[in-house]
């Protein structure tokens, strides 16, 4: 806590009251800006199609029409797209967390040669443009298909392999912040009690880091769920994820906004709920590593 706000309160001169009111107004404006699109999504999902074309600003729905939530499933195989997204993002999250938590633990606890280089490599992966990877990967997948006979494009394993690796550097960085907060004394005690290093890692450290791992997992899931660059080239036909499939609400002749917003609501609300539940870990994970507390 900074001492500044108390200072403002103590001297309750008129100027400070105005400043306080001004700050509150600005904060409300910022919050409105943040939430407005979400509000528009929800109210549009309950609108009838004809209501969209009425002129004038309608910020509060007149009536709740739930038919968008029913009709959206019938226009194209939206259920499949949702399931594909869940499978791809879910498996990606599991693989990524397994690989990344081992690496992050090592990165957090041990001093080894090349540690700085490893950290730098992780960070520099964040500035690689996706297309630079996409073109060779597309060629590689095509070649594997042709020469080895294993289907790689438009398969779950192909896209999961790409996503789980892509998210690993980010996950290592975030998880390392959580591991740093767990005292090493706990592992040392476990080791003295006869645990091996591996046992100490799996029985003591990982369970303690579980909230952090869950928060990281949520971000990995979000990243995989929202990916469109690789998905648009490598995940079509049977494995089309929601991120690509939702574009089908927009046809050549018209866009089915009300149904699209219903689908968007269905995809957003679970994530937002999870976020509210894991808020503390998510916020501390976001800021870890960049702000020295």
């Amino acid at each position: 806590m900074s001492v500044l706000p108390e200072e403002f309160r103590l001297s309750s001169s008129g100027r400070d009251l105005i400043a306080d009111a001004f700050a509150k107004v600005v904060l409300v404006l910022v919050l409105l800006f943040a939430l407005f699109p979400i509000w528009m999504m929800i109210i549009t999902s309950f609108k009838q199609r004809s209501e969209l074309f009425q002129s004038g600003v309608t910020l509060i729905p007149q009536a709740f029409h739930v038919e968008n939530y029913i009709n959206m499933w019938n226009r194209f195989p939206l259920v499949d797209y949702f399931l594909n997204s869940l499978i791809i993002s879910g498996v990606t999250t599991i693989i990524c967390l397994l690989v990344a938590s081992l690496a992050a633990y090592s990165f957090s606890r041990y001093d080894f040669r090349g540690k700085d280089l490893f950290g730098l490599t992780i960070l520099s992966t964040q500035m690689i443009p996706g297309v630079l990877i996409l073109i060779p990967m597309f060629m590689l997948f095509t070649m594997i298909q042709q020469d080895v006979g294993i289907q790689m494009t438009n398969t779950y394993h192909g896209i999961i392999f790409i996503y789980s690796t892509f998210t690993v550097p980010f996950a290592i960085w975030m998880l390392r912040g959580y591991f740093d907060t767990i005292p090493t004394a706990l592992e040392e005690a476990a080791r003295i009690d006869g645990c091996t290093r591996t046992e100490a890692l799996f029985r003591i450290v990982l369970p303690l880091a579980l909230p952090g791992i869950a928060a990281t997992g949520m971000f990995v899931f979000i990243i995989a769920f929202n990916e469109v660059l690789f998905a648009s080239v490598m995940a079509n036909n049977d494995v089309t994820p929601f991120a690509i499939g939702i574009q089908e609400f927009s046809t050549n002749t018209q866009t089915y906004w009300t149904e699209m917003m219903a689908a968007a609501t269905v995809s957003s609300l679970p994530l937002l709920l999870i976020f509210v539940l894991f808020q503390k870990q998510i916020v501390s994970g976001l800021t870890a590593g960049s702000v020295k507390q």
């Binding site: 080894f112 443009p129 990967m137 916020v283």
Partner: protein
């Protein structure tokens, strides 16, 4: 731990021996602990080797080769050429002129995003750093744009921006700011639209980082400022803002680089055929490589984009280091 008193504390040698017996990992002649550290890193390194390193080297190679659809499976046979780089840097060629324009638009997008995200994030962080009821709720709401899935939110913006039925034009008209509907998603304005959406999406990140930075400023500095009779502005100018420099460095760097390589927002907001104004480099490369099946040229363009991103980061790093900023992401 009262192990010592009970006399069951094993000697260090015994522990090490037990550990060695239980984990049969080869140690490459390294010290035991170091070998374990490397073993834990191995899966991550192997995966990153396949997905990050190999494709970058490969992409660099084919950027010098005339790889198109006919060479897709036997790319090693493709003829060597430097034409890609020559045409890209030739302002008068069809590809070159589009490239330079796209590069300019990418800078507009990146710099616009960075300024917007930072200013809005700083204002939000300062507001959140005050004492008021419902602070936690406010923080939660601020983070919503960052958490909500981009595929959903970009389409909301697309709906709100649409010229005939969109709420943004409706609001602007009813406030009397414009008289005719503006085209946000086609034509000149598309670059501003993607910037606005990117700012909306990322300002929570800056806000929460700066908020954490504000919380870590030592109270003594404010006490000293108060004793010196510093005004509110002077306190911000000489205490708060300098203390936020390390966080600022991280945010600015990440925002520039992340905007340069952002694909999701321009692609989903503007669609597959964006107006030239909104065609940032990522979209241009994607469209060119996959629509014209010019993979070699696409790779050359991607290499240039990577180099631009790296040079920008390096310059920025140098600049911030010179002004004695410590910390930072790189």
């Amino acid at each position: 731990m009262n192990l010592k008193e009970d006399g069951i504390l094993p000697s260090i040698a015994t522990i090490t021996q037990t550990v060695r017996d239980r984990i049969p990992l080869p140690s490459f002649g390294l010290e035991d602990e170091t070998a374990f550290a490397y073993w834990l890193l191995l899966p991550a390194l192997a995966m990153m080797f396949v997905i990050h390193l190999i494709p970058i080297v490969w992409g660099f190679l084919i950027s010098f080769m005339a790889v198109d659809a006919s060479y897709l499976t036997n790319w090693t046979q493709a003829p060597f050429t430097v034409d890609h780089y020559l045409t890209i840097f030739d302002w008068n060629s069809a590809v070159g002129s589009r490239f330079w324009f796209a590069l300019r638009q990418t800078f507009v997008f990146g710099i616009g995003t960075t300024i917007g995200v930072y200013v809005l994030g700083l204002v939000t962080a300062l507001l959140l750093n005050r004492n008021f009821r419902g602070k936690l709720a406010a923080r939660t709401v601020v983070l919503v744009p960052y958490i909500a899935p981009a595929v959903a939110t970009v389409f909301i913006w697309r709906m709100m921006f649409s010229s005939d039925t969109g709420i943004i034009n409706e609001l602007l008209v009813s406030l009397g700011l414009i008289s005719d509907d503006i085209f946000w998603l086609v034509g000149e304005n598309s670059i501003y639209s993607i910037t606005i959406v990117n700012v909306w999406k990322n300002f929570p990140f800056a806000a929460i980082m700066l908020y954490a930075g504000l919380q870590s400023i030592p109270e003594q500095l404010y006490e000293a400022a108060a004793i010196d009779g510093a005004s509110r502005w002077a306190t911000f100018r000489y205490v708060t803002f300098p203390q936020l420099k390390p966080v600022t460095a991280v945010i600015v760097l990440l925002m520039i680089v992340w905007s340069f390589i952002n694909f999701t927002i321009p692609y989903l907001l503007l669609g597959q055929q964006p107006s030239q104004s909104g065609e940032v480099l990522m979209l241009f490369i994607y469209n060119y490589a996959f629509q014209n099946t010019e993979y070699g040229l696409g790779a050359a363009l991607s290499v240039i984009l990577l180099v631009v991103a790296m040079v920008l980061s390096y310059l920025y790093y140098k600049m911030t280091m010179r002004s004695d900023v410590q910390g930072g992401a790189v």
